[in-house]
Each structure stands twice: as C-alpha cells, then as structure tokens.
C-alpha cells in the first residue's frame, strides 16, 4: 500500500509524475519539493520566446489552481538528504517527511567554470527563470555579450540577443558548434546562418579570463584576443544534480542510473528527466535533456510506481530555434549511416535522415518543416524499412510512405 510519494524537483519531470499519478487514480499523498520561486514552467522558452518577448512571469505548464485541485502538496524547499532505509526525506530547514516512494526529478545544475573574473557582475548561467530575468536586463541594443559554449542554449541565446540588437560573440572550444547534439554537418550550417545574421563565432577558442573592476568590461579569449563585453553567459552545459541521491547510496554514473521503467538501484526510488541516465532504444544510455523524453519518462515512472509500468527505452526528440530557423530532431544525428536529404520547394526547408545498414531510419532532423517532421518522427519511431527513392522525393507524401511501409511490414 502506497500512502505517500515524495517527488524532488518541481520542473516538467516532477510535475508530470505528480499529475500522471493522479490521472492514474492514485489517491494518497503527493509531496512535491521545488526550491525555485515558480514551479512547473516552460523552461525551453527561457532562451527563446520568453527572453525575446520579455514576459513578466514564466509560462506555466499547469492550469491555475491545479495543485490544489489535484491535492499535490507543494513544498518550496530544497531536500537536503534522503535515508533509503527509513524512507525519510529531510529538507534544508530541518523538516522531516516519511514517504513510501521517492522520485528524483532534480534536473541539471550548470557546470561552473573557474576563471579570473568569474564573480563579476554580468557573468551568468541560464537554467532558471531568475537567471533569465538577469540575462534579459543585459540584452539591450548595442550591448555586447560573449557566450561561452556553442551548444543549444548558447546558440539560441545568441539568436535571441541578436534580434534584440545586441552584439554577440560565441566562443566554442571544439571544432564545430552544436556537433554533440546535432552532428557536425548541421552544426556547420547553423554556424553559417549565425554568421550571416552578424554573430561572431570563434571555434577552437575558450574563455581565458574576464576583466572588470566590479562588473564585466572585457573577455580575454584563449587566443589572447580581447573582446569588450557587458555580459558573459557561461553555456557549457549542465551536470545531473545527483548530490542527494549519491549521498543516499543510489547508483549514479553521469546521472542517476535507472532501468527502462525509471527504477534506480533501490526498488522504491525512481528518477525521471534530465537527472536520469535512462536506457535508449539503440542500446546505449544517457541523460537526454529534452522535453518530450522527460514527459515520457515521467509518465513511465508514475506507471511503474503504481505497478503498471512498461519498459520505455528512449529515442531522443528535441527542438531548437537558431538564427530564425526551426530545427526539430529525433534519434541521434551523430550516428553512422547514409545521409539522405528530402528537400521541399519552399525556402530552405528540408529533412535529413540517417539510414542504417539494415535500411531503417536511425534519425531525422528537420529545418523549417514542422508539419512534415511530425510524420518523419513516426517513421523513425516505428523503425520501418522505407523505400529510399520515395523518401528523397518530396512529391511522395510521408503519410503515404508510412502506410506503404506498414503494409510491406505485414507482408514480410
């Protein structure tokens, strides 16, 4: 009998677990711990629409009053420790909560860089709403911002900052921006697009130090160059927030290690979202840091807790907006295979597929083709063998291809 479930983290993962538990009919206690001012808000937009439009408060992911209506107890508090033997959670203020199941939905913490000038006003990260408010204050026309790290958040903020009239420089330590998530070829195209709108992208360059008396005045890069700046955004990624889980003896390795049901090394402890090192469909495992996967994992964890779980190996799915282009992807774009590009007549919109040796679709990435991508995503998900000449021809609809492939599958 489960009487009480403690969920640590009130972002998308935590709140989805809580609401999913209620939707599945669980009527016991739900304690949701979140240390931020706002709970369950739209985090991906912090580098995009929310930042651009300067909205007064974050976009909520739940209708007003849902926590009360669904009897989800919010505790605006950080959990300091968890004792898995007695199943007790302790908050930093010393409050003690006895629970039957625990879900870690603690997400990522930004990777801290240690450099001269790291404490100056204007050096920041972007993970939370309050980070966004701080960053927004610096993004004025003619202001100069240096972004350290050419990943998704760095490139998204660069695009937004440029739209707001700021002067933007990206420092990327690697050979290409975005290559870890989108692959080198896409990274290169995104770099051209960013450069075309006037963003200075410097590869194989990192941050040496930041100059200034109390606030940021200039950045000294690893090549010795000096860039005058009002703000520095450190966007080199995050690390799973495993502090409490690790201290509790839960198995952690680049995140909290879970099986495809979201269960950790302790039978009553689960994890979902960015903090979870979750098994993937291709046999590997990692933390995915994407919106759809987080939702799927959270729903899976709620089902698993109530004994209704099914194994849910993940296929990465995400989106980004860079230099005004909408990019959506499914699967791993860095995986080996043949590249096939399906081009559409309008503008530069296209979908790139990676085809595996066995002729199935490993991954897909769409540029400015959301409607078509919804279908491409199903093709990759269903792991169907697809006639490649049809796939390359935009006149043959993807819907038609899905239907034909399904029929072929049945015949075989």
């Amino acid at each position: 009998m489960i009487n009480s479930i403690g969920i640590i983290g009130s972002g998308l993962a935590g709140v989805t677990v809580a609401r999913s538990l209620r939707a599945l009919g669980y009527s016991g206690k739900i304690l949701l711990f979140g240390e931020e001012e706002y709970h369950a808000y739209d985090r991906p937009s912090l580098s995009k629409a929310a930042l651009l439009d300067n909205i007064p408060q974050p976009i909520s992911l739940v209708p007003e009053g849902s926590f009360e209506k669904e009897a989800i107890e919010i505790h605006a508090n950080r959990v300091a420790s968890f004792d898995p033997d007695s199943m007790v959670l302790r908050s930093i203020t010393g409050d003690v909560f006895s629970v039957d199941k625990v879900v870690f939905a603690t997400g990522l913490r930004p990777i801290e860089l240690d450099f001269i000038g790291s404490k100056l006003v204007g050096v920041m990260n972007l993970r939370t709403w309050s980070d966004q408010v701080l960053l927004r204050g610096f993004l004025k026309p003619e202001a100069s911002i240096v972004i350290v790290g050419g990943g998704l958040i760095g490139c998204e903020v660069a695009s937004t900052a440029k739209s707001l009239g700021a002067k933007v420089t990206i420092l990327e330590a690697g050979d290409e921006i975005l290559s870890r998530v989108l692959g080198k070829a896409v990274g290169q195209r995104c770099r051209s697009n960013l450069e075309a709108i006037g963003i200075d992208v410097r590869l194989r360059t990192s941050l040496e130090r930041v100059e200034g008396s109390d606030k940021v005045e200039a950045v000294i890069a690893s090549d010795g160059s000096r860039i005058e700046a009002d703000a520095v955004l450190i966007a080199i990624g995050g690390l799973p927030d495993t502090e409490v889980a690790k201290a509790a003896g839960i198995n952690c390795d680049r995140g909290i290690v879970v099986d495809a049901y979201g269960q950790t090394s302790h039978k009553d402890v689960f994890a979902a979202g960015d903090v979870a090192n979750w098994p993937l469909a291709d046999g590997t495992r990692r933390s995915l840091e994407t919106y759809l996967n987080t939702q799927d994992q959270a729903n899976c964890v709620a089902e698993s807790i109530l004994g209704k779980g099914t194994a849910r190996p993940q296929l990465a799915k995400g989106w980004t907006e860079i230099a005004g282009r909408k990019i959506q992807f499914v699967g791993d774009m860095t995986s080996p295979g043949q590249l096939l590009v399906r081009r559409y007549e309008s503008g530069n919109s296209h979908i790139a597929f990676i085809i595996g040796e066995e002729g199935t679709l490993r991954s897909a990435l769409a540029v400015d083709a959301p409607k078509e991508f919804a279908l491409a995503m199903r093709l990759v998900e269903k792991n169907l063998k697809v006639p490649l000449e049809d796939l390359a021809c935009p006149d043959v609809s993807l819907r038609e291809i899905i239907k034909t492939s399904k029929i072929l599958e049945k015949v075989i």
Partner: protein, 108 residues
C-alpha cells in the same frame, strides 16, 4: 445559434485538419474516423496553427512543440500547453461543414 458554412466536407481528408480563417480567430476543422470536429486553430501555448499538426487517435499534436489536445473536448493531453482549446458545435449540411462560430467554449 449562428451556423456559418466554412468549407466543404470533401476539402478535409480523413485523418487531416484544415485551417479556416475567420474574423473571430482562425478555426481548425478536423476529420477523424468519419466525423468532423471544430476547434480554435491557434495552439494555446505558442503562435502556431494546429491544422499544421498531426492528428492521431482523436488527438491533435501541435507540430511546433508537440503539445496535444483532444479534438472533441479541447482538453490538454500533453504540455507545454496548459490551457484548453475552444471547441465549436459543428454540423454537416448537404456536404457543407457548418460551424456555430459564436458558440466556441472551453468545455474542460
């Protein structure tokens, strides 16, 4: 009751959605398992046409950030949206899709 003819039923293929411009806000006409449904076209999360989305099992998925809504009730089935869609009474009259455009409501 002010039913207005918006399009022909034959213009919306089974499994598809069609955007119809209207002064009070664009509508989406969905054709699912032989039945037609009318909802507001704009996703409640961001500026995007739901008719551009993916219709499956009576649920329309926004193609921008993959929020999901029930086309019959307007209910949110997946975030990032949190506000329900307006749904409109619809009837098929002699091959025409007619919608009571003034009677849009959030039923959930």
């Amino acid at each position: 009751m002010a039913y207005v003819k918006l399009c022909k039923a034959s213009e919306v293929a089974e499994g598809e959605s069609l955007r119809i411009e209207h002064p009070g806000g664009a509508l989406a006409i969905h054709h699912y398992e032989g039945e037609f449904y009318a909802t507001q076209d704009r996703c409640t999360h961001d500026e995007w046409s739901l008719a551009d989305g993916f219709l499956e099992n009576g649920v329309i998925e926004c193609s921008l950030h993959w929020a999901k809504f029930c086309i019959k009730t307007g209910k949110v089935m997946a975030p990032p949206a949190c506000q329900a869609l307006k749904v409109y009474p619809l009837r098929v009259n002699d091959g025409d899709i007619e919608v009571d455009v003034d009677a849009g409501s959030e039923t959930v």
